[in-house]
């Protein structure tokens, strides 16, 4: 029951946090910035609208939002949120979850190519390219976590008897993981310095350009999926940063959402102090994250006997 309540809270709270990023950016730019609840307002505004569909599109275009949202919700179903056990968990679920997210990407890319727009094709090609690299990083992280915990499930990783955390015996290695996971978060969720969702030129975008032709409720579903995905990655980092074992659920929840806010603020800070990379630097950026965790994994050969 606790898990379901916690899941429900997460589903409702996820659109709040991107507001934190915007506030953070506004703070550093010396502006007032949009209200914290801006993403809720836009969401409901989009839901009220109708849509315009391109003549080129087929049913695949309409499946893009549905599947990507579904995949992101699945990821949260398997993730321990706010110190509670996840609703669903089994040995091996991590592999399934990352493949579910890949399925969401498959349909987002196909939906983009369905419009016959050169810009969206460009975005799709980039998304496909960068995600092949990021996927390698993610699986090395799983290798490392298996070495540390002997398990293949988010529940075992984080809410088991010996959770994976920087406070634990292998904490030094996990510092590397946090950095690299943060880089994966920026890549997979199209944040600066990999992608700039706020830029004015479609030619330089990745994710935003892929959803150019989506409008109204379709766009709202895509945005919601994106919030959940970002929430998932941020929660991933939160758990490594701090184990949530205070006993009382409300304390756990409070600490969890506190750290979450900090991570989103860190994303906002990154966006404020960095510019978007040139496209040819992005693979190097992602490979850096790969190198970091790969290094950590090699180190376990000495640490774990």
């Amino acid at each position: 029951m606790e898990s379901i309540i916690s899941f429900g809270i997460a589903m409702l709270a996820a659109p709040l946090f991107p507001g934190v990023i915007l506030k953070m950016k506004a703070f550093w730019a010396g502006k007032k910035g949009p209200p914290l609840l801006i993403k809720y307002y836009t969401f409901f505004k989009l839901l009220k609208k109708g849509s315009v569909y391109s003549n080129s599109t087929t049913f695949v275009f309409k499946m893009g939002p549905t599947v990507s949202l579904g995949a992101a919700i699945m990821a949260l179903l398997f993730f321990p949120l706010g110190g509670t056990a996840p609703i669903l968990a089994f040995e091996g679920d991590v592999i399934l979850i990352f493949y579910m997210l890949a399925l969401g990407r498959f349909f987002t890319i196909c939906a983009a190519l369905d419009t016959a727009s050169p810009f969206e094709g460009m975005g799709a090609a980039r998304e496909a390219y960068y995600s092949t690299l990021a996927e390698a990083t993610v699986f090395v992280i799983l290798v490392l976590f298996y070495r540390l915990s002997g398990a293949l499930s988010f529940a075992e990783f984080f809410s088991g008897p010996a959770p994976i955390t920087v406070m634990g015996p292998a904490g030094a290695l996990l510092l590397l993981v946090i950095v690299s996971l943060f880089m994966v978060l920026l890549t997979e969720n199209s944040r600066v310095p990999v992608d700039d969702p706020a830029t004015h030129l479609e030619l330089t975008m990745i994710h935003e350009v892929m959803i150019l032709d989506h409008s109204g409720p379709d766009l709202a579903l895509i945005e919601l999926g994106a919030f959940y995905k970002l929430f998932f990655y941020a929660a991933f980092i939160t758990h490594i940063l701090h184990p949530l074992q205070y006993g009382a659920p409300w304390v756990n929840g409070l600490v969890f959402y506190g750290i979450m806010a900090l991570i989103y603020a860190a994303v906002g800070l990154t966006e404020s102090i960095m510019a978007r990379f040139r496209m040819n630097l992005v693979p190097k950026f992602i490979l850096t994250s790969f190198a970091l965790v790969f290094f950590a994994t090699i180190l376990t050969m000495g640490v774990i006997k």
Partner: protein, 652 residues
Amino acid sequence: MDTFFLAIGVILVAGILPLTISRQFNLMKSSCLLLMAAGCVIGLSEVLSFLSNSGEAAAANWAWLQIFTLSFKLDTISAFFLIPVFLISPLALLYSFHYLEKPEQSTRTALNYFCYAILVASMALVATANNIVTFALAWELMSLSSFFLVVYEYQAKETRRAGYLYFIFAQGGAMFLFAAFGLIYSHTGSFSFEQVAAIPENIKLLVFILAFIGFGSKAGIFPLHIWLPHAHPAAPSHVSAVMSGVMIKMGIYGIVRIYSLLGSVDMTFAVIVIVAGMITGVLGVVYALGKQDMKKMLAYSSVENIGIILMGLGIGMVGVASGVKTMAFFGFAGAFLHVFNHAIFKSLLFMGAGAVLHKTGTRSINQLGGLMKRMPTTGRSFLAGSIAISGLPPFNGFIGEFLIYFGAFQGLGLHGLPFVLTTLTIISLAVVGGLATACFTKAVGLAFLGEPRSEAAAKADEAGFTMQLVMVLLAASCLLIGIFPEPFVQLAFNGMRDLNLVGAADPGLFLTLVRNIAMTASLFLALIIGITLLRRMLYVRKQVERGPTWGCGFTQPTVRMQYTGTSYAMSMVDFYRPFVPAKTVYSGISKIFPGLTTYETRVEDLAEKYIHRGLIRPLVKYLHKLRWIQHGKIQLYIGYIVLAIVALLIFI
């Protein structure tokens, strides 16, 4: 075993009958189809009942030419590899009913059906052969019949070249096999497979390497894969479907068989298989991404999937060698299941590409587009096949890959070499998975979605009824296996029973895992349906319009501005540059008002390039010096034969 031979008999009759009634075009096709279906159903029921009962392996022996014995044995490994043979073959033949529809070529069609039946029968015999002579005979029969199937359109020079290339690789591979068999014979003094385990350890390794090369050239292991991307586009689509979906798996069968016969638990075997698997998998998919010819792309994707299967087998072997039972079990089970799954979705995809080729006359992705509207059934089935082959849930491709992943993760507790191997396997699988998604979003997104890039694509219409029927059946089974994987995993499980190295493992963990995946897959589908309904509700009484695609302010878009397969894949291919040489020819722009400009880019195959440069060219150079032997005088040729016989009589 008698039922099995009955099935083979019916299949052979299905092949011979068309030769006699080739004038009655439709009668010929339907009678062949019916007989083939009957034969395969008989075979399939025999194989399935054998797999589900824990019976003893059945064997049969026949004397042949006084000194040889033809020996057959049906054990669980053979039975498992026979399932795709008996399942895909009749479906591909049904597909060909509307694919080969030129009555004026009825004799050729009859011959095609004859060779097809021989191929199916010989594949079944390869999987059951139980001594060296029988195996070699069946193997050669399989290679030869498939060669004749490839050169169906023999008037085209391209096709003949592809046919010869395939022939050389098939025979070259067979030579390695014969070398391996010769080594076995010289140590055991018997043709029988039963005594292979008795040969000394160091010879075992050599035998395994020779056999691995021989079987690898059939399966398409890098760098022995280069016949695939030539032969598959040249062959008619139902033939490519069977060759790619089923026949190349006989190479995998051979590797599994020789491994189980040798009965060695050396880590070296595992290292060979796993390293070959990683290289084959990653390079296969990168080349697939670089190719714009649909069938070439699918051929390279077969290479990739062979890589995945090898990685699975390799994980299993590492597990056996280092005594981690769960790892061995999951590795082999994943590889077996992927053999079965790949047979389904790869034949589906080849049939989809065949339907497109049939209706548009082109295989180039850069000429296609917008086919989802014009060929809805083909497009939807191709989409399903693409998701499945990318290994994404809730389709069947995921199940096999998941088992391999799971097996690999079990090996992470090891130390030293096995740990490094398993880590690299996991990374390779992840990279291959990502690139396969990229590759098949390219195929679906550019060939079936968007706007048609050529007149031919704009005028396409839906494929014939039997073609659609088969594709829908296969696409549905991809989803079905993904959602209800349990009986199919059970099949793979039973298939491994005679792989005695693994030993009996506890199926409990296995089944819980598979049930969990099945549950998640159904949940996901339910969620998608729920969101779709929600989406419907959100659009109730809303204004929905149609209009042109937003061109970012540009008002005169043309279809040629769309992203093409080349541009989509270029940066990814570029990343793997030293292994994937891309040749670019660009005339450049020099004037302020540029004239005609050309740009061409082509991805070359590293193996093809270097085999040509390093092996063929020097070989031709030296063999050229022996040209005087071939002078065209028949009496001297007869003299050669006499001399050879005399020499043999003296020395032996």
